[in-house]
Symmetry: C2
Subunit: 249 residues, 2 copies
């Protein structure tokens, strides 16, 4: 066999067919779809090819697979979206504005009790605390408060962060395995309001991010944006992650 696979591969065709039946409503939630062996007969291919297709459909959340009981169409559940969080410099320049970065303070210090919430139990012995401002043109764009775990990133001790934001530096230097974001709306505090050149109490968007490598927190950052200057966009296409993931990483 080994058909030339003109546009798409066989397993991709199976994915598309099943996805079509689910999205069109032909196969409703809890509907039991054919078994791998039935599919392989229908498509005249081996079971492995069907398995690859159905495994990816399961990963994308379209179906659930159970031994003996077979595979059934998932009932829609909490939506999960792919949230893209870009580098701030890239973001500002995408707005067509000149980007500028100003370092406010950079202090090495021992971890306090207040830091324990952001780091793991016990926490890191020594921290690097950095506060800075990102500007779009002449306007303040984003206020950054960051803590870096010096046990995880000892090189940060030698980095002044005078010309380069710690986020960009860390992204290039440190591998990370997990990140957690929390997004909230707040009223600007007096301190932040002064820096962002707005009135205290003005609505702001806050993004807090903790980044892990293996078991320990590498860095914690709080980014404060003036309301209206920034929004977070998240997209989700279940099968997008199946069809488009080959070459783009």
């Amino acid at each position: 066999m080994t058909r030339p696979a003109p546009g798409t591969s066989l397993y991709q065709r199976i994915i598309n067919d099943v996805q079509g039946r689910i999205l069109s409503g032909e196969w409703l939630p809890d509907h039991r779809i054919p078994s791998e062996r039935e599919f392989s007969e229908q498509y005249g291919c081996s079971r492995m090819t069907v398995n690859k297709a159905l495994s990816q459909l399961a990963q994308a959340g379209y179906i659930e697979r159970r031994r003996r009981a077979g595979s059934v169409v998932s009932r829609p559940h909490a939506q999960s979206a792919i949230l893209e969080i870009h580098d701030i410099q890239t973001e500002v320049q995408a707005l067509g504005l000149p980007y500028r970065y100003v370092l406010f303070s950079r202090k090495e210090r021992r971890a306090r009790n207040a830091d324990a919430a952001h780091f793991d139990a016990g926490g890191p012995a020594r921290l690097l605390a950095v506060t800075a401002l990102h500007l779009a043109g002449s306007r303040p764009f984003c206020h950054e408060e960051r803590l870096i775990n010096l046990l995880a990133v000892p090189e940060a001790r030698d980095e002044p962060f005078a010309d380069q934001a710690p986020g960009a530096w860390l992204l290039r230097r440190v591998p990370w395995s997990q990140a957690e974001h929390e997004i909230r709306a707040i009223a600007a505090s007096l301190d932040v309001a002064r820096v962002l050149e707005i009135a205290a109490g003005t609505p702001c968007l806050v993004i807090e991010r903790r980044t892990w490598n293996a078991d320990h927190v590498v860095t914690f950052v709080r980014l404060t944006y003036v309301a209206g200057s920034h929004s977070v966009v998240a997209r989700f296409g279940p099968l997008a992650s199946l069809s488009a993931r080959t070459g783009e990483a």
Copy 2:
């Protein structure tokens, strides 16, 4: 062969090994990792097994694969996170508060120019516009403004939405293929402030979501939360989606 695979499968072991080398920094970005054929020799297994492992690592963004050139460790790029957006009722009950839903208005009407931004070019001919309030205990929790495309969901015409929020109804009834979220901070308008029982100008978190099925927008919703009552949490663990995706959908 067919080893009993004591705790994990062979391809999962390969995934873990490669991930470990990348996260530890042993294999830096742009490092070329062994070819599939080399791995299969090292592990004493077939190339298909290695292929399954490396394919999943590529999907998770750890490595990039290029024909002839081999596979290289990815350089970290824009972080993408998995954003969980839950049903509002679930969310309120998770806070340990009684949930209540109040319908304010429900109107069927023709699409206006102002709706065109939320829907596709041309837009749907007829819409169902619903405004409602979600309460946690006796306090307003979230104000909902929703537009439903009646061409995509004609059954909505027969649904009063008096006792049931349209979000929960749609989630159960309508398949969707894509969603887009935008999260912003705003100052409460007069109308919204009155409904949420806060002062005008109070910071609020706004989530706007458009949901597609195939090519057309099914529904658009704007959810407004009082600042402090709600935050969005997003997590990302590249390999979490590899190891934990089997049985949990």
